[in-house]
């Protein structure tokens, strides 16, 4: 992946840079156009910092009309555009292109409406995920999806990535919590999908837009549903001698009809790193540590705590602590929440992966990872959204050692291949971006990929919006539209007909 090939820059666009910058200044007057190299540095990468590229120009519009004019201007002149929210993508979704306008939505930072009777919030896309909860928490409400970057990531970016979080098994992903959006197509047309009503009309374009990684349109307004904060939450911290037992415990909890608010697992290297860092009291001798959080009315939580504890014991847990206070619950979580920086302390660099697997395959995948770890000579620590099968292996490496980044990336790619092989997928919540782009054929054949690209053609027929992301190979829409008619010569003898 270090040998990432991006679409060749359009020389004609590059040669017109001064003119394009001047035109952008006409569309977005004031401070909204950044073209000085030193100021553009801040935008040269997103959360996947291994890749950097200065954009053609950075534009920060403030109104929907400006977004529409920018996109139409670029569409008319065949200029590429890369949209960006807060730039926290871990897959390079907002990586700039040398010949593309970087359209930064951070000035769309207002909450437009809070509607408690309908339990909806209308926000501009640059509002942070946590900003929505902050706006409604005094009334006892919150916005459920909580990606770990929630203090920084924007709601528009959440739509682009279909962001999850630790509570997604019970409360769903972004796609299940967004009711409507306003968006601008590459040709400058402004459309609305959904609204405060629950079912969107016609084709589920809102569903298609969610998780489309900025390739289909630019979101300019988001309507989300908010939920009442659960009355109480308590957590269990459960240690197991083997990952198999931990995995079976997760299966048994769900098999008993219990859907916890959160269910996280860590393996031994992650437990040790976290414990050394925050001293949360994690049992060091365990191979698998499970945090199970139950939320809801106190009486329900108390009832379920007992049931989960019994299931843990039955599966051979060696430790099982139950939080007795809000402070203790936060301590249980402290290690898990600090797992990434904790791993950062034991290794100069780490590379965070994001595959999803059927839960039952966990022992097999962990064993496979151990083998790969030996083969590549690099350590790996695992944190795992156990409820929904989403793995985050952290590969430890040192970027200062020549070749180690390549090795880490190859190790990561092998892990993702393993995830696909056992029935899982390449990415659970971080997106494909540029990072997993070239692995897409592991999961999809060319027909599958072509049909996805045809959806792109309906939205952006010139492939100008965020090109070089998600799809390993760009194909012209005209070429994709060609029909190869086969079959049909015979009125099939093999199909029953009446």
């Amino acid at each position: 992946m270090s040998g990432l090939v991006m679409p060749a820059p359009d020389q004609s666009t590059l040669s017109r840079r001064a003119e394009i910058v001047a035109d952008m200044r006409i569309i977005v007057p004031g401070e909204g156009v950044v073209d000085a190299v030193n100021e553009m540095r801040a935008f040269e990468s997103d959360g996947l910092t291994a890749y950097r590229q200065l954009p053609l120009v950075v534009v920060l519009p403030e109104t929907v009309a400006q977004v529409s004019r920018i996109l139409k201007y670029c569409d008319d002149r065949k200029i590429r555009v890369v949209p960006r929210g807060s730039g926290t993508s871990l897959s390079g979704g907002a990586l700039p292109l040398e010949d593309a306008v970087l359209l930064v939505m951070s000035r769309f930072n207002r909450i437009l409406e809070i509607d408690y009777p309908n339990r909806t919030v209308i926000a501009q896309p640059g509002v942070t995920n946590l900003g929505i909860t902050t706006a409604v928490e005094q009334e006892g409400f919150y916005y459920a999806p909580d990606p770990s970057s929630q203090i920084a990531c924007s709601i528009g970016g959440n739509v682009a990535e279909n962001s999850g979080g630790v509570h997604s098994l019970k409360y769903g992903l972004t796609a299940n919590n967004v009711l409507g959006i306003e968006m601008v197509l590459m040709n400058g047309e402004v459309i609305r999908l959904g609204g405060k009503h629950l079912d969107s009309e016609g084709y589920d374009l809102l569903g298609v837009m969610t998780g489309s990684e900025g390739l289909l349109g630019v979101v300019t307004e988001v309507t989300v549903r908010i939920l009442r904060k659960p009355e109480t939450a308590r957590a269990l911290l459960i240690g197991f001698p083997t990952s198999e037992q931990g995995g079976q415990c997760v299966a048994d909890i769900i098999g008993a009809g219990i859907i916890p608010g959160g269910m996280e697992m860590m393996d031994r290297p992650a437990i040790h790193a976290a414990e050394d860092f925050v001293h949360a009291g994690y049992p060091r001798e365990c191979e698998a540590l499970l945090i199970v959080e139950l939320d809801g009315p106190g009486v329900e939580v108390d009832h379920l705590i007992g049931r989960v504890e019994a299931i843990a014991l039955k599966n051979g847990s060696t430790t099982c602590r139950i939080s007795q206070s809000e402070q203790e619950r936060m301590t249980f979580w402290a290690g898990r929440k600090a797992a990434f920086p904790a791993v950062g302390r034991i290794s100069p660099d780490y590379y965070c992966m994001d595959g999803t697997i059927p839960r039952k395959e966990l022992p097999r995948v962990l064993a496979g990872m151990r083998e790969l770890s030996e083969q590549y000579g690099l350590g790996v620590a695992n944190v795992f959204h156990a409820g929904d099968g989403n793995l985050h292996p952290l590969i430890l490496y040192d970027a200062n050692i020549p070749g180690e980044l390549d090795k880490a990336e190859n190790f990561g790619a092998d892990i993702l291949r393993l995830c696909v092989k056992v029935g899982g997928v390449l990415t659970g919540e971080h997106g494909v971006g540029v990072e997993k782009r070239d692995l897409m054929p592991e999961m999809f054949n060319q027909i599958d990929l072509d049909q996805q690209m045809r959806v792109k053609c309906a939205f952006d027929p010139n492939h100008l919006l965020n090109p070089g992301k998600v799809f390993p190979q760009l194909r012209r829409c005209a070429e994709l539209g060609r029909m190869h008619i086969s079959g049909g010569k015979l009125p099939f003898p093999d199909i029953p007909r009446f």
């Binding site: 009777p117 309908n118 997604s168 796609a175 299940n176 197509l185 047309e189 402004v190 609204g195 405060k196 009503h197 079912d199 009309e201 016609g202 084709y203 589920d204 569903g207 298609v208 969610t210 489309s212 009355e231 299966a251 769900i254 098999g255 219990i258 809801g296 009315p297 329900e300 009832h303 999803t356 059927p358 839960r359 039952k360 099968g389 029935g423 390449l426 990415t427 494909v432 997993k436 897409m440 999809f444 990929l449 049909q451 996805q452 045809r454 959806v455 053609c457 309906a458 939205f459 539209g481 008619i485 086969s486 079959g487 049909g488 009125p491 099939f492 093999d494 199909i495 029953p496 007909r497």
Partner: protein
């Protein structure tokens, strides 16, 4: 007139290839339980998926089930119930409303019509539970999207694109759904005698509480006799469902009664009676009257629904009841569907959309059954259809008239 009844995805692909080669449109059919919904088709040939059946994967502990698209929904619901699980979005059964029998319908049809039920507020619709699909596009190509895991952002979510597409984009051959444990117990509180506006306030109060109300409906006095076997006759019923583990349901029910005790007298309905009641609401029992009188399904902002209905009644006699806290309004008209009037009022009261789910053949052929879209959105929808089905061989004209997209003049906005 040919009817293809494939028994495998490969045979399904062959049928579509044949239709494509002959540019001969197909009506895509499961059990035909929703055939009376939507614009009537004029296709010579039929692709009948009712023999493309079978559950191909069910792992209760993984909360996942895959089946061929023609598998009867009833078979899947039975299998899940045997394991204490369910499709949490409670797909409604259109059969009785459309003059057919209850209990028909296929799992593919559930997705193609994006069915939901009274738990919509909490659990979403089919589109919120679909994990993956295999399908044949109108290009005669078998493709897949998604997978079998809950958390997956690999590529565009074409599974969701199938939701509510009524067979106009691709022929589903396999679907994979997330399944969930069924609630241990349920209790319904029925607040009696409220007018629509008071009911809206009571439902908003209940849904805004931390008691996790999973369904909220309001049935006015004139219709209440047609649900729950007539047990609620005499006064309107504002229904709130509480589901979950026994001790939790008891606790939350008590708190809700405290919260709402000033709203009106409250009846408590539990167990099977509660289940039957919500099935009636789900399947629109009040309007399953054996007639073809026009019935609308209106999706709008919950808190505005009663005001929209009141404004409608100023001009036209209408029967109405509410599900999803008012976010779903069922309307039965006298004779004329009054499409323009209704759609204008929906736009005026916060927006949403109205679908003419029941009407006679000629009305469905002449009126926009599905909400017309503004030109930019209609254009995008038409381009999407073109990308999946360039020759228009899959259910042509089911959602929008042939040769044009149903658009709403921009000036109407």
């Amino acid at each position: 007139m040919t009817t293809f009844t494939p028994t495998s995805p490969t045979e399904t692909l062959s049928a579509v290839e044949w239709a494509l080669a002959n540019e001969s449109p197909l009506e895509i059919l499961g059990h035909g339980s929703k055939r009376g919904l939507g614009r009537p088709l004029q296709t010579e040939h039929t692709l009948d998926l009712s023999q493309l059946t079978g559950v191909t994967l069910y792992e209760p502990e993984e909360l996942v089930l895959s089946a061929r698209a023609g598998t009867p929904l009833a078979e899947i619901e039975k299998l899940l119930a045997d394991h204490g699980q369910e499709l949490a979005f409670e797909p409604m059964d259109y059969g009785p409303l459309l003059g057919g029998v209850a209990g028909r319908g296929t799992i593919g049809g559930v997705l193609a019509a994006n069915l939901a039920g009274p738990r919509r507020l909490k659990a979403g619709a089919a589109r919120d539970h679909i994990l993956g699909i295999n399908a044949v596009s109108g290009r005669g190509e078998a493709f897949k999207s998604g997978g079998r895991v809950v958390k997956n952002v690999t590529g565009y979510d074409l599974s969701k694109a199938m939701a509510g597409s009524w067979g106009t984009l691709a022929v589903l051959t396999d679907v994979t759904f997330k399944v969930l444990p069924a609630a241990e117990t349920e209790v319904t509180l029925a607040i009696r005698g409220l007018f629509d506006e008071e009911a809206a306030a009571a439902m908003a109060l209940a849904l805004g509480s931390s008691e996790e109300v999973s369904s909220a409906a309001h049935v006015p006095e004139n219709l209440v006799g047609s649900i729950a076997g007539g047990a609620l006759k005499g006064a309107s019923a504002t229904l709130l469902r509480v589901e979950g583990f026994g001790p939790s349901v008891a606790f939350r029910t008590k708190k809700l009664i405290d919260l709402l005790k000033n709203a009106g007298p409250i009846d408590e309905i539990s167990g099977d009676a509660s289940k039957a009641l919500w099935r009636d609401i789900r399947d629109c029992a009040p309007f399953a009257d054996g007639t073809e009188r026009p019935v609308w399904r209106v999706s709008m902002a919950p808190s505005q629904a009663h005001a929209m209905v009141m404004a409608l009644r100023m001009e036209e006699a209408t029967d109405a009841f509410y599900d999803w806290q008012g976010g779903l309004v069922w309307l039965r008209m006298q004779a004329d569907p009054e499409a323009d009037l209704l759609r204008r009022l929906v736009r005026k009261f916060g927006g949403g959309h109205a679908t003419l789910v029941r009407a006679n053949h000629s009305l469905r052929a002449s009126l926009a059954v599905f909400e017309p879209q503004l030109p930019a959105l209609a254009g995008l929808s038409a381009r999407l259809k073109e990308q999946f089905d360039p020759k228009g061989i899959l259910n042509p004209g089911r959602m929008v008239p042939l040769g044009k997209s149903a658009t709403l003049a921009a000036s109407n906005e």
